[in-house]
């Protein structure tokens, strides 16, 4: 470790670190412009100059590029430093009067009031964009042209770049926002949708799903990460103070030995873009309920301020449409998704809080509010005119001069209704999480035609499945709200505890037995067994001589499916409880 003094403060820093890094660690603020932790330092803008007052050649040096040296003494706010910084800012202001960051810095650190020739170029020529594209990303799309005062940043021959990835690193890192990759990228720029906010805002490849994520650790989305596509860019690896980034990680297989399994894989929302009449996916102001939830959420894309996606202004009229996909015989799901009526009422309340003078309408078939205090909740919404409930279905939604005309029926008054809405919220049906069928097959449990997992018995064994030891909880079993899900979860937990609280458990004795006399060790049965329960067994005489080898069924592994019995040519295997003689007797009894 290197010992040095910054602003008369004794500091210890790792060798190879820069003065800036050491100062920042010690909580001393040094302004920078052409510096970024992930990009090799250039020491170009000279905003970060500090004065060496001892232990080295006296003079002004850039903190971002000057290495720490044993016994060095530097001042970050000495009179010479301040004078130099003020002159640098004055010169930059002269070159780029329009750059906001320079104006702010000039305010904060003061700029020498020196009469100068004014330029109008926002680019302060710090070179960060060139360096990030060349040294970090590895594409070298933008470059310097010329030298001296006439130097400018461009692409070769000012032409559209052939190598630009469109990653936007240059615009992101530019301190004054003077560069826009759209000018030279061969393809249109497209941000990475943040799936947590339903794609309403963007995220970067390395991200945490949401601020309160547990575990609160990032991951890298290899589809969009530059390193995994071109092999370049290791910015995150460079910056990480804990050196935690490891690009070589691959799939890791872990085996868990468990006695019982609870499946709680939850649900997804049905994609309403199949119904052309609602225009979801075509009209930006037609959103799903989860998108609406994200919009009103404080941690959402608009930090809780509800705005119309098309105009960015709060919607004055919102129409909620229920049963989108649910309770439909054709072209949808026949079951009721149970939670939509309740969360739509909640949305009406939230909408009232957000837009006091807003007007909400709800097209419903029947308000399903069966839970505890559910009905009172909905009643309050209706009574306090938070929303006008219209019993009926919506036939069509179409845009007309900036609004969305919602044409539907109000069956109670028997009239045709048209509402000019500024936002339409669809309450899509609940469907099991994607991939549920594969998981069910892996766990060998049943599932219905919609993919909801099959309980052993709808009334008596709602949290168990036909496969012993596998239990169900939550929406993967059937649409349910949070209280029911939690209740079912605890039920499943108790079932699990019932099973694993014992050291042993009893199992049906209906397993295979080998008749060692007739078995001629052809081991056809071994191939038929899905559980690898069959293996060779040596029969020994008294003297320990091996007289024969026969098939042996491991009592613990055999599940009694009987495949081996049927395959056995010499009929030497019988499944207890389903022996051939029993079955033949039963078959015989089928005749009169």
């Amino acid at each position: 470790m290197i010992n040095l003094t910054i602003d008369n403060q004794q500091i210890e820093a790792e060798e190879g670190k820069t003065l800036l890094a050491a100062a920042t660690l010690a909580g001393i603020d040094i302004p920078t412009l052409c510096y970024h932790p992930a990009v090799p330092s250039a020491g170009a803008c000279r905003i970060c100059v500090v004065e060496i007052t001892g232990g080295g050649q006296p003079g002004l040096v850039p903190a971002c590029a000057y290495p720490v040296q044993e016994g060095l003494e530097i001042q970050t706010e000495s009179e010479r430093v301040v004078a130099s910084r003020r002159m640098t800012l004055a010169l930059m202001l002269a070159r780029s009067p329009g750059a906001t960051i320079i104006q702010e810095m000039a305010q904060e650190y003061g700029a020498e009031p020196v009469p100068m020739d004014k330029g109008d170029d926002d680019c302060i020529m710090c070179g960060l964009c060139v360096r990030v594209c060349q040294d970090v990303i590895g594409q070298s799309a933008v470059c310097f042209e010329g030298r001296g005062h006439e130097r400018k940043i461009t692409t070769p021959y000012d032409k559209q770049s052939e190598v630009c990835l469109g990653c936007g690193a240059c615009a992101f890192i530019c301190p004054t926002g003077a560069i826009d990759p759209a000018d030279y990228c061969p393809h249109p720029l497209e941000t990475i949708p943040n799936d947590f906010n339903c794609g309403l805002d963007t995220r970067t490849p390395i991200h945490i799903p949401f601020p309160q994520a547990v575990p609160n650790k990032p991951l890298i989305d290899r589809e969009n990460c530059i390193h995994f596509i071109t092999g370049g860019c290791e910015a995150c690896k460079q910056i990480c103070p804990a050196d935690a980034i490891d690009f070589d990680m691959t799939d890791e297989y872990v085996t868990e030995k468990v006695g019982a399994i609870v499946v709680a894989t939850g649900y997804e929302l049905f994609n309403p873009d199949v119904y052309a009449e609602y225009g979801y996916g075509r009209y930006p102001d037609v959103v799903t309920s989860i998108e609406f939830e994200r919009m009103v959420s404080a941690s959402g894309p608009t930090t809780g301020e509800l705005v119309r996606p098309s105009t960015g202004k709060p919607p004055k009229t919102v129409v909620f449409l229920q049963c989108i996909g649910s309770r439909r015989e054709q072209g949808g799901l026949p079951y009721c998704s149970k939670i939509c009526c309740m969360y739509t009422a909640k949305h009406a309340i939230l909408y009232k809080h957000k837009v006091h003078d807003g007007q909400a309408f709800v097209f419903y078939m029947d308000v399903r509010s069966g839970g505890k205090n559910y009905e009172q909740f909905v009643r309050r919404v209706i009574k306090e005119q938070m929303a006008t409930y219209l019993r009926g279905r919506v036939a069509k939604i179409f845009p007309s001069d900036g609004k969305l005309i919602v044409r539907g029926a109000d069956t109670l008054s028997g009239t045709q209704v048209e509402i000019a809405a500024e936002m339409v919220v669809l309450a899509p049906a609940m469907v099991p999480a994607a991939g549920i069928r594969n998981l069910a097959q892996t766990l060998r449990i049943g599932y219905d035609e919609h993919g909801f997992l099959l309980e052993a018995h709808p009334k008596l064994r709602p949290v168990e499945t036909n496969t012993a030891g596998v239990f169900l909880a939550g929406a993967c079993h059937s649409p349910k709200d949070i209280p029911d899900s939690v209740a079912q979860a605890s039920a499943a937990a108790s079932k699990v505890l019932g099973l694993i609280s014992h050291q042993t458990l009893t199992r049906e004795p209906t397993i295979g037995i080998v008749d060692e006399e007739t078995c001629n060790a052809c081991f056809e049965c071994e191939g038929a067994c899905a559980y690898g329960a069959i293996g060779p067994k040596e029969l020994k005489d008294r003297k320990g001589e091996v007289t024969a080898v026969v098939a042996y069924i491991n009592e613990g592994l055999c599940q009694g499916c009987g495949a081996c019995a049927v395959t056995c040519r010499s009929k030497s295997i019988e499944v207890q409880g389903y022996r051939d003689d029993q079955l033949f007797a039963a078959i015989n009894a089928t005749g009169r």
């Binding site: 130099s84 001296g148 005062h149």
Partner: protein
Amino acid sequence: MAVATQLRTPEDLANLREQAATRRESKRMAIAICCGTGCRAQGSMDLVEEFRSRLEAEGLSDVEVRATGCHGFCERGPLVVIYPKEIFYCGVQDTDVADIVDKSIKGDELVESLLFRDPVSKNRFHLEHEVPFYAKQQRIVFRNNGKIDPVVISDYIAVDGYVALAKALTQMTPEAVIDEVEKSGLRGRGGGGFPTGRKWRICHGQPGDQKYIICNGDEGDPGAFMDRSIMEGDPHSVLEGMTIGAYAIGASRAYMYVRAEYPLAVANLEIALEQSRALGLLGEDIFGSGFSFDVEIVRGAGAFVCGEETGLISSIQGDIGSPRQRPPYPAESGLWDKPTNINNVETWANIPVIIDRGADWFASVGTEKSKGTKVFSLVGKVQNTGLVEVPMGTTLREIVYDIGGGILKKRKFKAVQTGGPSGGCIPEAMLDLPVDFEKLRDVGAMMGSGGLIVMDERTCMVDVAKYFLAFLVDESCGKCTPCREGLFQMHAILSRITEGRGREGDIELLQRLAAYVGESSLCQLGGTAPNPVLSTIRYFRDEYEAHIDHKRCPAGVCTSLVNFGIDSEACKGCGLCLKDCPTEAISGEKKAPHRIDETVCVQCGVCYEACPFDAITVE
């Protein structure tokens, strides 16, 4: 005549030297014709042909015609020196060849018209060393220029070439070589004056097996061309110096960075490399010492900033010549991040002499802290322009007047500028200043590469400052704010002043900007850029005030502040000015006083220069 046998041992070298020397002496006479760029531009190559064909025609086979490198006295080119007597003819045209052959070669007379006539004392000199231009010079670096043919290695060997290398490789350890160089007190001739011995010791001490040597032949300073003449005229002295240096430091490869504008230097160096490789003086196991070394030539491409060490390194590495922040210094991590030692051409050329004749001999030349000699390129408004090699400590007056022959057209001396764009100007009051690293720095100037630009009363110091800033604004790499923006603003201010739009406080503003640029710039280009402005303000503040307050340019240079007229009495109507005027603003009959038409005149000042009778008036 190239000798193909490999010199495996110092003895082989000694035998070759014997052979070469005897062959040179066998010739009764040798006609040395300067074929440096300067004289070549004045037709010296035709002279060589003319002499050869003449001698052949006359059957004089015992006379050798030798095309040598630059003799230094470019003003009087093309130069011919006849050995052994050292008869010095200048301004020789091919028509004079017949005369010279008849009188000086066959006979023993002199061709009076070609002898050098001193403009001041009007008397003639016929021996080279007597000519005032050469009399006061002490030629160590230029010891062979003018005496050997640069493209014939045996010439160089004949004059004790590579003796130092053999001595170093076979009798001295690398540390001993470094001690010798340190003892000699040699300091960098590139401009900084950093002690060469210490620089080598640092690089030698660095870990790592791969080290590099670089010869900085960028010579970006305008007005300096001594490196050129050395590389063209005596390439082997540089190569030998580099090989000794590489041996001392432990480097196996070297790069010679030569300016794009020196094609002849590149050509001569390439030939020298081929020839020394052929003799085994470069390549594997030189002189059987186990030391292997080779040199590669890298052509520069026209960037003054590549004279700065890290700028040069990134240029060799194939990138733009932008300097980088130091430390790490090139000695620790330079070319491709390996320890690299960079020295100027002139510094390398001194090494063989130091090793050959010993550090004490070298230390006996020069002043207490600045040892040895320095080659200056004496140019500008001086009679005898050319390359002058004088021991450190010689006074400016001696250089400008004794050697330089005083001011052109007997105008009044005003100042001399040293160190090019990084240097400063020295007024008349300080003409007796002895030339020394410290002394020059104390007065605000700088040794620099050695450009000595003489200025007379007709030179406007503000214009000079503006010129240097214009140069630096164009040559700045543009990386760091102080240099890119600071110099641009300073140049803008100076332009305003020279166009008569100077304002109160401009001088103080220039000084503040200058201090800032000098202090905050990333590299030494920016660091020293303000010197010309600061020194012109320091010594010629009155001129600045004249421009700003009275909107007048005393020297009559700044066109927008000046208009020219003709004094009818003085004007003899010779018509010289009329002929030269680019815009035909002058009219008048032969022998009758001429007139200048104000509206057409662009104040270019050509008439003022051309008029022999000082009839042009300037207000």
